[in-house]
């Protein structure tokens, strides 16, 4: 009888074989549950697809597929990336109307698929639609509603002790019913009782144009007020249809030391003036303070900048979001109580409520994946094929409106953000938006 069981050697050498066989048999594959409709965008983390549930509700989702974590060019698989772990762990705990909801996570063939609720628009696309198609600024009711909902979602994150650390127009989504959804928690993390200082894991956080001055000056200790600065930048960008502080990022040197971000600081100083010790007493303690003092001196011209862009109370809110001293910067809760939000026009739950149909931005453009191996689409049924060709037609129609696209130009853009940096030259834009993820 023991002879019969001599094949048990295999099992003794690989004791988990039975376990894996059991689990693999029970596992549902992504393509069993979803029909992939097309490709939305790509970034350092992986790719995002539009997909339709094969359940009876046929709901549309965005599926984010993480690339396996690789070290340099070596193809050895080292497990789930820190970024994916973060995004998964945080998303499993949170639930708020203004945060993109995670429906499920599917682990399959060394890839992670995060299935999110689908949002038809994002801030970047709205900005682009206004600057390129409508050629008019975003109206006050829309601007106010988008800003309010963004702050509302951020308040939820901050109360849960989560810093987002990568707020920018491309990461802030809007559903077709005009509800703002903060997305991409890949750089976000819990700040409650961290075991290591925040700067240890990630040397560089926040895309350069949205990066707060304390980070640019090398602060090791920072807090959720870095997100508030980014909200200021986003609000200003909504108001003017272009990034307010569009600096050039100084690259990490060969030893991965973080360089002094001179150009970005100058772009900020040109509008807000050079920070003084009176406004920001602790600035003296920041590592790059001496470098900063060598820069030319500027005076605050924010009021001037705001003219014709944001009026009165809106300008006052912006100034408070842009307080140099992180301790004096508004919190999300304070910002939501600001008088701008109390006066007419009041913010609305559907940010597009006041708009006529043609003013609402077009649907998200999707394309067919040029790397079909990334997501097997052959499994899709004929019904899906029909939908896909329809989608393609829609895509063609929108193509003329898009001058550049992160996917088609194959630049290694940090995110989908790059496709909107049209006014500044797409290539350079893609470059400066790139954000280093270290550690």
């Amino acid at each position: 009888m023991m002879d019969e069981w001599s094949s048990g050697n295999i099992l003794l050498n690989d004791p988990m074989r039975i376990y894996r066989a059991k689990r693999d048999a029970a596992r549902k594959r992504v393509t069993d549950k979803y029909a992939i409709l097309g490709f939305i965008s790509s970034g350092t983390y992986g790719r995002v697809y539009k997909a339709q549930s094969k359940e009876s509700d046929g709901r549309i989702h965005a599926i984010k597929k993480f690339k396996p974590d690789k070290e340099g060019d070596v193809v050895t698989y080292t497990g789930i990336s820190q970024s994916a772990i973060r995004e998964i762990a945080l998303n499993r705990e949170i639930s708020h109307e203004n945060i993109v909801a995670l429906k499920e996570v599917i682990l399959e063939d060394k890839s992670i698929y995060m299935v999110f609720e689908y949002a038809e628009h994002d801030f970047l696309q709205v900005i682009h639609h206004h600057s390129q198609t409508l050629r008019s600024s975003i109206t006050q009711p829309v601007l106010k509603s988008l800003t309010y909902q963004l702050l509302n979602g951020l308040l939820y994150l901050h109360e849960a002790h989560i810093i987002h650390r990568d707020l920018k127009p491309a990461n802030i989504l809007i559903t077709s019913s005009g509800v703002v959804k903060i997305g991409d928690l890949g750089l976000a993390r819990l700040t409650h009782q961290p075991l290591q200082p925040l700067h240890v894991g990630d040397k560089v956080v926040v895309t350069i144009w949205y990066r707060a001055p304390e980070l640019l000056l090398g602060a090791k200790h920072y807090n959720k007020s870095v997100d508030i600065w980014a909200v200021g930048c986003v609000m200003a960008e909504l108001a003017s249809l272009r990034p307010i502080f569009k600096g050039e990022e100084a690259k990490l040197d060969s030893k991965k030391n973080v360089p002094f971000q001179k150009d970005q600081l100058l772009k900020i100083f040109e509008v807000l003036g050079t920070p003084s010790e009176r406004d920001w007493p602790k600035i003296k303690e920041l590592p790059e303070y001496q470098s900063m003092k060598r820069l030319d001196h500027y005076t605050n011209r924010l009021a001037e900048w705001c003219q014709s862009r944001v009026r009165l109370n809106g300008a006052d809110l912006l100034a408070r979001l842009f307080a140099y001293d992180p301790d004096k910067r508004l919190t999300a809760a304070e910002a939501l109580r600001h008088k701008w939000f109390q006066e007419e026009p009041l913010p609305t739950r559907n940010a597009f409520e006041s708009l006529q149909a043609h003013q609402v931005p077009p649907h998200r453009r999707i394309t067919q994946d040029d790397a079909p191996s990334m997501m097997p689409m052959a499994a899709a049924g004929s019904q899906v094929q029909a939908q896909m060709s329809q989608v393609q037609a829609t895509a063609q129609a929108h193509l003329s409106q898009q001058l550049s696209h992160s996917h088609s130009n194959h630049s290694k853009a940090g995110s989908a953000a790059s496709f909107a940096s049209l006014s500044g030259g797409a290539g350079a834009g893609a470059h400066t938006r790139k954000k280093a993820r270290l550690g």
Partner: protein, 414 residues
């Protein structure tokens, strides 16, 4: 999340009842002679994770998270169908990432291989991708719920000592989030050695399945409760088991100072009523706290019969403390009303064969003085798996299970 335990995945999906735990062990029970051995496995696996954590320089909280992951994995799986060693390694690897202090997969593989070979485990793969593969299955089993709440936080909140709190929050924001279980606002002032003791007791709770059964704040309160019982009765042991300086501290400074009792002469007398007032102010279920405390004492009794040769220092210290706690329990046995009778079995024993760990003499299966060693448990795990595989290999033979030990026991019991 960080603010609200009650809306966390931990509370919503991972606090389970005893029936679930019994069900989780039902396959394993077929392959062990004595159900108590499965309780010893809890001690063994927690020690294993703790030792691997030390080799990887993981912080205590990371080790605790890894242990919780491990326990959750075995809520859904059986020892007899899996390899707890690779699961333990994957738990450490994922926990380090989940707690934002990642370690390189290469280090985990090499340290795990070296450590596990001490237990005669030769099958641990040297290939990183095997551990990465296990990580994948593990995260799937955990349903991607990677945020774990621990009693340490409640402890630092309740005793309000700067030292621990500061080291934990050094880089974060020193915000006071509201406590999540009630309206009690008093803080208990504990001496440094007493806090240490409570901290170690919390460490020890991971050697059981308490982290699956109870919310962490109740475990913390039970640990504080045990600390107070322990300090009042066996100060000598405390002084022996803590460092020299710490012992000095507790001599000059009584083990526990209440924030309300100011005179030093009445300290010993003032303790019990003061404690009751403080406990009442916490607004938690005291019967649950008492149950947890009882289970801890049962764990220490069990641990007393476990001999981890050359184990970490902490294990020895804990064993010493276990002895003293057992003493404390027998002293107080009459006074703590429900005593051992309410203990409904932290040991995942089969129904009817409930092994009373705190009264080993009364057992009818197994010798009372039996001492369990890691090597015994490693052998047990291998035997369980072999027997299980033999059973699975002959599913249609009319003998679905070679020897159902649970059945045997039940029949023997009449």
């Amino acid at each position: 999340m960080a603010t609200d335990f009650w809306s966390s995945s931990h509370y919503k999906r991972w606090i389970v009842d005893r029936a679930t735990l019994r069900q989780a062990r039902s396959d394993d029970l077929q392959y062990v002679d004595n159900p108590e051995h499965l309780a010893f496995l809890n001690i063994f696996t927690a020690n294993l994770i703790s030792r691997l954590g030390k080799k990887l320089s993981l912080r205590q909280r990371v080790v605790a998270t890894a242990t919780v992951f491990f326990r959750r994995f075995y809520v859904k799986n059986s020892y007899c169908e899996t390899d707890p060693f690779i699961v333990a390694a994957a738990c450490c690897y994922v926990a380090a990432k989940a707690e934002e202090s990642p370690v390189h997969i290469k280090n985990v593989v090499s340290e795990a291989r070296a450590l596990f070979s001490e237990y005669g485990i030769k099958t641990f793969p040297s290939d990183n991708s095997k551990l990465a593969e296990m990580e994948f299955y593990l995260v799937d089993e955990l349903e991607c719920d990677l945020t774990v709440f621990h009693p340490y936080r409640t402890l630092t909140t309740l005793v309000g000592k700067g030292a621990h709190a500061a080291s934990q929050a050094e880089a974060g924001e020193a915000e006071d989030s509201p406590r999540y279980w009630g309206t009690g606002e008093g803080k208990l002032e504990l001496s440094e050695p007493a806090i240490q003791t409570a901290w170690f007791i919390i460490n020890d709770t991971y050697r059981s399945e308490l982290c699956l059964l109870y919310p962490p704040h109740l475990i913390a309160i039970a640990a504080i409760y045990l600390t107070l019982v322990f300090n009042a009765n066996t100060r000598a042991t405390l002084q022996a088991s803590t460092s020299a300086t710490a012992a000095q501290h507790s001599q000059s400074d009584p083990a526990r100072r209440s924030s309300r009792s100011s005179s030093s002469s009445s300290k010993k007398q003032a303790q019990p009523p003061d404690l009751i007032g403080w406990m009442a102010g916490l607004n938690v279920s005291m019967s649950l706290v008492a149950t947890i405390a009882q289970e801890m004492i049962a764990l220490y009794a069990l641990w007393d019969r476990y001999n981890e040769d050359g184990g970490p220092d902490q294990a020895r210290a804990a064993a010493a403390m276990a002895a003293s706690l057992r003493g404390a329990q027998s002293h107080r046995g009459a006074r703590t009303a429900k005593g051992s009778s309410t203990r409904s079995g932290s040991v995942p024993s089969g129904s009817g064969t409930g092994s009373n760990a705190e009264t080993p003499e009364s057992k009818d299966d197994g010798t009372p003085s039996e001492v369990v060693t890691p090597m015994f448990l490693v052998q047990l795990l291998l035997r369980m798996r072999e027997a299980r595989m033999a059973d699975l290999a002959h599913p249609a033979s009319g003998r679905p299970v070679a020897i159902n030990k649970m059945l045997e026991r039940t029949q023997a019991a009449g």
